[in-house]
């Protein structure tokens, strides 16, 4: 793929899939190591919180609520069940949209990776998809599909698919064509090729694409919920905003960020670590 820099407004890093793996340091094991590893991140959070609190204290403005205020709001939405319910709604939309994007991107990415003609044919669509700001995708989907479930799912899919597709296509292009010939000679069916040839080969690019895609998904889901839907985290953010409750906006933001972080670190990175470890075993 000739694309190295996205034309769009959103910060996308393309082609990270082939970046060299970090050097194998002796793995930090034991409980002590596990406890000290997140310390730098926690320190940063602590410093930011302290700075914020200082700012809130000195400015004494309703626009910069103190930590206590935010925490109270967070406790309120947690105990009322609003947090759980809206996060669930939003996550469902993101999951469905991402799943749709995944299926389409794997098909399109493999097609683009294997056929020069299809690459030329589909590339403009992918590039336009990358260049179009998430805001525009969200607005158009709201206009066209209104409050139906199609709206958020399609928005998320449109946001996630281009980066995913480009990365998958790149991964497939790097697959040895000799293996494709072998599969042709032995008449391996499409599913077998997908499972044993294409998917394993593109695992690193798949994860790079998935991470970028999910990052895009978070951004647009909030937008689409603000503009066109009657529930979800974005809707709640907008509600607090319209009531001039800055602490409420911040409480939802913090909660949402925590959920995203949990999914990034908890789910994606664990999956990736396992996939990469399996690859390394297989390629030893």
């Amino acid at each position: 793929m000739t694309v190295t820099h996205p034309v769009g407004a959103e910060e996308v890093v393309l082609g990270g899939g082939r970046s060299p793996a970090p050097p194998d340091r002796p793995p930090a094991t034991g409980t002590a190591a596990r406890l000290t590893r997140p310390l730098p991140a926690l320190l940063l959070v602590g410093l930011l919180a302290a700075g914020w609190q200082l700012m809130a204290h000195t400015s004494d403005s309703a626009l910069i609520p103190g930590l206590g205020d935010i925490a109270r709001n967070l406790a309120d939405i947690t105990t009322s069940g609003a947090l759980g319910e809206n996060v669930r709604v939003t996550l469902t939309r993101v999951t469905l949209g991402f799943a749709a994007a995944f299926v389409v991107s794997v098909a399109a990415g493999i097609a683009m990776g294997r056929s020069e003609w299809l690459r030329r044919f589909l590339e403009p669509a992918v590039l336009i998809g990358l260049a179009t700001p998430g805001l525009v995708k969200a607005l158009l989907c709201v206009i066209w599909f209104g409050v139906s479930l199609v709206n958020p799912v399609l928005t998320v899919a449109l946001a996630a698919a281009p980066a995913l597709t480009i990365n998958i296509a790149q991964g497939v292009r790097a697959v040895d064509p000799a293996l494709g010939e072998m599969a042709h000679v032995y008449r391996l069916d499409a599913l077998t090729r997908l499972r044993y040839l294409w998917l394993p080969a593109i695992v690193p690019d798949l994860f790079t694409g998935a991470r970028l895609g999910i990052a895009m998904a978070w951004k647009v889901i909030v937008l689409v919920e603000i503009f066109g839907l009657a529930d979800g985290v974005g809707y709640q953010l907008n509600l607090e905003f319209s009531q001039h409750n800055v602490a409420g906006v911040l409480a939802w933001t913090v909660a949402f960020a925590l959920v995203m972080a949990a999914i990034e670190y908890g789910l994606l990175q664990t999956l990736e670590r396992r996939a990469v470890r399996w690859r390394r075993v297989a390629l030893r």
Partner: protein, 240 residues
């Protein structure tokens, strides 16, 4: 179900992607493999032996002329010059996937792995194997599908002499049990003489048949058969 393979008036030219230089590998080239005939092709490297094999396998198309396998697409067993294994899955699965795709019962996988001496590596990934062991997986994969046409591109050249000998005997057994049409590319003139019904020597650019030897010795043959050494001498003479 025996397959006749014929190349008729085949032209094939490659264009080097970087230099744009064109080299004609075949011009008006014809060759026929009779049903159930095992033909060995010998010749210097770069002559076009692999290209010939890929033409028969349908992996390359002739620029002109025809390559025919008798109307149907025969079931192929092929050992490429490199093993071409799926690195992400076990030895056993590599062989099994080909078997399944060919409609062969998976119970036939284990005996083949045993025959190539890889039983204890069945569950290993190909990456832990030596080059010779990987090539044996490729041989097992080619044999397990009960090929109607067997295409072997220097299948034993990466193996130690002992293993190569074992696999040559295995190949001979295969022909004793069920003959089929086969093409064996090799650098080893003695191997060609031992295994083949006919040895074709390719040379020149574009490639031509510069020598052809029919070997009418009944199977099973002995690798020590003095008659074979005689053929061997004549092949080497044609090569040089």
């Amino acid at each position: 179900m025996s397959t006749r393979i014929s190349l008729d008036g085949v032209d094939k030219t490659f264009t080097n992607r970087r230099t744009g230089e064109r080299q004609q590998i075949f011009r008006d080239f014809s060759l026929t493999l009779a049903p159930d005939e095992l033909v060995a092709v010998v010749g210097g490297s770069g002559t076009g032996k692999t290209t010939l094999m890929h033409l028969i396998a349908g992996l390359e198309r002739p620029d002109r002329g025809t390559v025919s396998t008798g109307g149907t697409r025969p079931r192929l067993g092929m050992v490429f010059q490199q093993p071409r294994l799926l690195d992400w899955t076990s030895v056993e699965t590599n062989v099994r996937l080909a078997a399944t795709a060919a409609g062969i019962d998976t119970t036939e996988v284990a005996p083949i792995l045993d025959a190539v001496g890889l039983t204890e590596y069945a569950r290993s990934y190909p990456s832990v194997l030596s080059g010779g062991q990987r090539q044996r997986v490729a041989v097992a994969r080619a044999f397990v599908v009960r090929p109607e046409v067997l295409l072997l591109d220097e299948p034993f050249s990466a193996l130690d002499e002992l293993t190569a000998r074992r696999l040559r005997l295995l190949l001979q057994q295969l022909w004793l049990r069920t003959p089929r049409t086969g093409l064996l590319v090799t650098h080893n003139a003695l191997e060609a003489a031992f295994l083949a019904d006919r040895v074709v020597v390719l040379g020149g650019r574009p490639a031509e048949v510069v020598g052809e030897y029919r070997i009418d010795r009944p199977r099973p043959r002995s690798p020590e058969d003095p008659e074979l050494f005689d053929v061997h001498r004549r092949i080497v003479a044609a090569l040089t």
